[in-house]
Amino acid sequence: MITSVPRRDRRAVITGIGVIAPNGIGTDAWWAATTAGTSGIGRITRFDPSRYATQFAGEVDGFEAVDYIARRLTMQTDRWTWMGLAAAGMALDDASFRPAEHDPYSMGVITASSSGGNEFGQVEIQALWSKGASHVGAYQSIAWFYAATTGQISIRYGMKGACGVVVSEGAGGLDALAHGRRAVLRGVDTIVSGGVEAPIGPYALTCQMATGRLSSIAEATAYRPFDERATGYVPGEGGAILLIEDLESARRRGATSIYGEILGYGATHDGHHPWSLPPDARQLTRAVALALRDARIEPEEIDVVFADGAGSRGWDDLEEQALHAALGAHAANVPVSVPKTMTGRMYAGGASLDVASALFSMRHGVIPPAVHVDRPAAGCGLDIVREASRAADVRTALVVARGYGGFNSALVLRRTSDCPSPPTPTGGPDESSTLHL
């Protein structure tokens, strides 16, 4: 029964994860590399980057679309959608979820995208302007737009329930999962969610460089969030697709692998300027505080923070201030990591992969490191897990993500074995109007 408002007897849990990352394809390879501190960042090989100030990126080497999807479909879709379809297949396999056995309307697809099928788009714009309108291919209209991956996943797996695409740049991965939770709490049993991104092409890189936020240091260590030598970030491709299910329906179908629950979510916007730093960390602070409140937990319950880690001083300082403001004294004690240092920032894929990292940290009792952060900025005041992973009993994780333009989002995840048996009301209507910090 689909309802118009969240039902308090429902809980959104993650039961399957598929990963395509620069440091590993599939969760086994990726997690082994991630906990070993192995980076997938290198000099760009997919095209000659010689004329670009930024020449390093996290590319997914060895990814062959035809290993996952029919060759005919690869001709109709962008690399971004190949990765989305491949990761969705992995997530369903991981969950032992067989779509054909379920009511089509009980399953939906809600992904994040930031730049869509941009390389396919570049090919077709090039064809148009160099050869003429009749040389634009028939698949441009379905490959380039931001909904292509959601649509293809829905079609491939016969998922007819709520479908959506959320765009908020680097915050999108969390916003899509939260929107997926909305659908699950309203009565859709299963949502394929998360996001991937494929932004490593000549024109895509040109567009990203215009932000001035990319590092032009030609080294694999260029991306050093919270480090005194921070010079910007390097981009990466890939991400994670996750399967969200209602806890009860997951148990009913006999799901054996439940990673954790989406316990809380908060989102704000700086509402300040299209690209400049906001005057203070208030809105990012509020996103974290809203997520904690939605989760009904205290800051001390957070066992690990996966930070946004923008990789430039001003933005990193703001995030540090926000964590201190939202978590209080606990901010100095809680381990903070940025595994994106091993993949580059993957826009819609980045926060999705951080959620995967959080869930794997819970399952395996180990927090992966933020690599290359060997000189934390003076006065940083955060316990950054550096260089080597750290053993920890992780029950509750906080993931923070920001998107260019002023988007702030935070997600709280809890290990399912630590969820109380009676339903925890989450995401319900809340009449209190303002959070005063």
Binding site: L128, S134, Q140, P202, T206, C207, R286
Partner: protein, 418 residues
């Protein structure tokens, strides 16, 4: 339960920018489609579109905003300015941490991306492109999230903000997203709607090979003719609309004019084909029925259906079947119409423009017509309100959307209930 009221409407549409000019276009049954003037379309199969005669400065945009924003973002900001003014809200006096933004677009900054590409690739000749020729604002074209961030920035809105990009259902889905933000208590006010400016060579070119757009180039003014036996595809449009969504209790408390409330929203996927539709309309009817359940509506409640009505044969047949499947015999008793016959199909923008049309239809008690519909397709046997607007009391309006990816969405607006 928190309910969502619509307390402000702003529109940028072909045929007349501003809410009043838009409504005047609709009730007069005037088609705003014409031969494309934005670029030389001579080599294209479809050379017609519904273009907006839009002056950003007259709409209230500042010069720096005009410089950095792609056209579709300008549409949204202009529509939001009008909507907020219409709502009577003084946002500067509101708690802006409780003001959210949810906007839709299907193709985002395509126009900016294309024009920049022509420069950096030297006319499409250099695949590796020269980044030195890129505008500092090109990233705003690369990520459609610029749409939401610019509106949040313009109004200092610090609540949640996002773009919803589900192709041609983006407009309905973005307003659905904003509606859920209010229901779930994430915001008390949401500036929600959609915008699109896809009348550019690449967007026109990508619909040519699949023959989705009309090639009635010599009859540009009457080319958009949904449900007509002579129709041959949709006519590209552009534009946008923004609604002020407001939690009903607070709207009442401040004495706001409430146009109507959102009583149901649902989306479905057909899981069939990226562009193809089955003639049975099954999944769209499921979306309609779900939206009706949310508002406790029975078919007899629905007074008017604002159809997706793109004017492709498969859509018109699919949608007619969906409406009949959901509403039964009642489908034959009420006016159905497609305003795309007048303002074209602005892809991700049109869904919001159509929600504005539904709110105004309830407000004025008028069902806009389907222009250019002189003889219905024999397979389309509903009352499509041909040519002339119809006066009737409308308490409940249903709007449907259908798009690439197989997405089917439905939203119901209702006159404010006690």
């Amino acid at each position: 339960m928190r309910r969502t009221a619509i307390t402000g409407i702003g529109v940028v549409a072909p045929g007349g920018v501003t809410r009043d000019a838009f409504w005047e276009t609709l009730v007069s049954g005037r088609s705003a489609t014409r031969r494309i003037t934005f670029f030389d379309a001579a080599e294209f199969r479809s050379q017609i579109a519904a273009e907006c005669d839009f002056d950003p400065q007259a709409a209230g945009l500042r010069p720096q905003e005009v410089r950095r924003m792609d056209r579709y973002v300008q549409f949204a900001v202009a529509a939001a300015i009008e909507a907020v003014a219409d709502s009577g809200l003084d946002l500067a006096g509101e708690d802006r941490e409780r003001v959210g933004v949810a906007l839709g677009s299907a193709v985002g900054g395509t126009t900016l991306l294309e024009s920049e590409y022509v420069a950096v690739s030297d006319g499409g000749s250099d695949w590796l492109v020269d980044p030195d020729y890129a505008s500092p604002h090109v990233y705003q074209g690369f990520v459609p999230s610029a749409l939401a961030s610019e509106v949040s920035v313009r109004f200092g809105a610090q609540g949640p903000s996002a773009v919803v990009s589900t192709g041609c259902t983006s407009g309905i889905d973005a307003i659905g997203y904003g509606h859920q933000m209010i229901q779930d208590g994430e915001a008390d006010i949401v500036l929600s709607g959609a915008a699109e400016s896809g009348i550019s060579p690449i967007s026109m070119a990508c619909f040519d090979p699949i023959r989705a757009t009309s090639a009635r180039n010599d009859e540009a003014h009457s080319a958009a003719r949904p449900f007509d036996r002579e129709r041959d595809g949709f006519v590209m449009g552009e534009g946008g609309a923004v609604l002020v969504l407001e939690e009903l209790g607070r709207a009442r408390a401040r004495g706001a004019h409430v146009y109507c409330e959102i009583s149901g929203y649902a989306g479905r996927g057909n899981a069939f084909h990226m562009t193809g539709l089955r003639p049975d309309g099954l999944e769209m009817s499921e979306a309609i029925l779900d939206a009706m359940r949310q508002g406790d509506h029975v078919p007899a409640d629905i007074d008017y259906v604002n159809a997706h009505g793109s004017g492709t044969r498969q859509n018109d047949v699919h949608e007619t079947a969906a409406i009949k499947r959901a509403l039964g015999d009642h489908a034959y008793r009420i006016p159905v119409s497609s305003i795309k016959s007048m303002v074209g199909h602005s892809l991700g923008g049109i869904g919001a423009i159509e929600m504005a049309a539904c709110a105004l239809a309830i407000e004025h008690g008028v069902a806009p017509p389907t222009a250019n519909l002189t003889q219905s397709d024999p397979e389309c046997d509903l009352d499509y309100t041909p040519l002339v607007a119809r006066r009737l009391p409308i308490d409940v309006a249903l709007s449907t959307g259908s798009g690439f990816g197989g997405f089917q969405s439905a939203m119901i607006l209702s006159r404010e209930a006690a």
